[in-house]
Symmetry: C2
Subunit: 93 residues, 2 copies
């Protein structure tokens, strides 16, 4: 049976930190899919991670799905703020 | 005959500037498709533009395709730098 997709939350670290995590994750024999999740400014980093992994390290890797969304985040002063999000699914053969 | 898709390049302006451009563009009777193109930091803005347009102004709008890429940009000091890019296709019924 195949494992569920690994979810990697993209934050403020440099893209290469996440790239290494993606590669490590996909090198496990029962892991064929990774989902990158990011919000706000980290959306750009998520795209960088997908592109760097595919161009430089795993040429056969496929970006199989990209979806966007909007999330409501609580703010310190009270109330909420809307923030965009992205999910990028990476699949290896 | 239907017009080709309008391409909107997303830069450093606030998202609402581009949202208004998307709405104006799609209100023309022969325009059913808009493609948002962005590079680097503007990728987050492009996702914001798609999400704000869809959630707040045109509920029937569909994000019909999202692709990512890598572009080589010349830098002032000579040589080139790789930068991630995104294309988001918005389609109205």
């Amino acid at each position: 049976m195949s494992k569920e997709a690994t979810v990697i939350y993209i934050g403020r670290k440099p893209p290469m930190n996440y790239v290494l995590f993606v590669i490590t994750s996909l090198n496990s024999p029962d892991s064929k899919e990774v989902i990158l999740k990011a919000r706000g400014r980290a959306i750009t980093t998520a795209v960088d991670v997908a592109e760097i992994t595919r161009r430089r390290f795993m040429k056969e890797l496929e970006i199989s799905k990209i979806t966007t969304g909007t999330e409501e985040l609580p703010v310190e002063e009270g109330g909420t703020r809307m923030v965009s999000s992205i999910e990028i699914t990476l699949t290896r053969p």
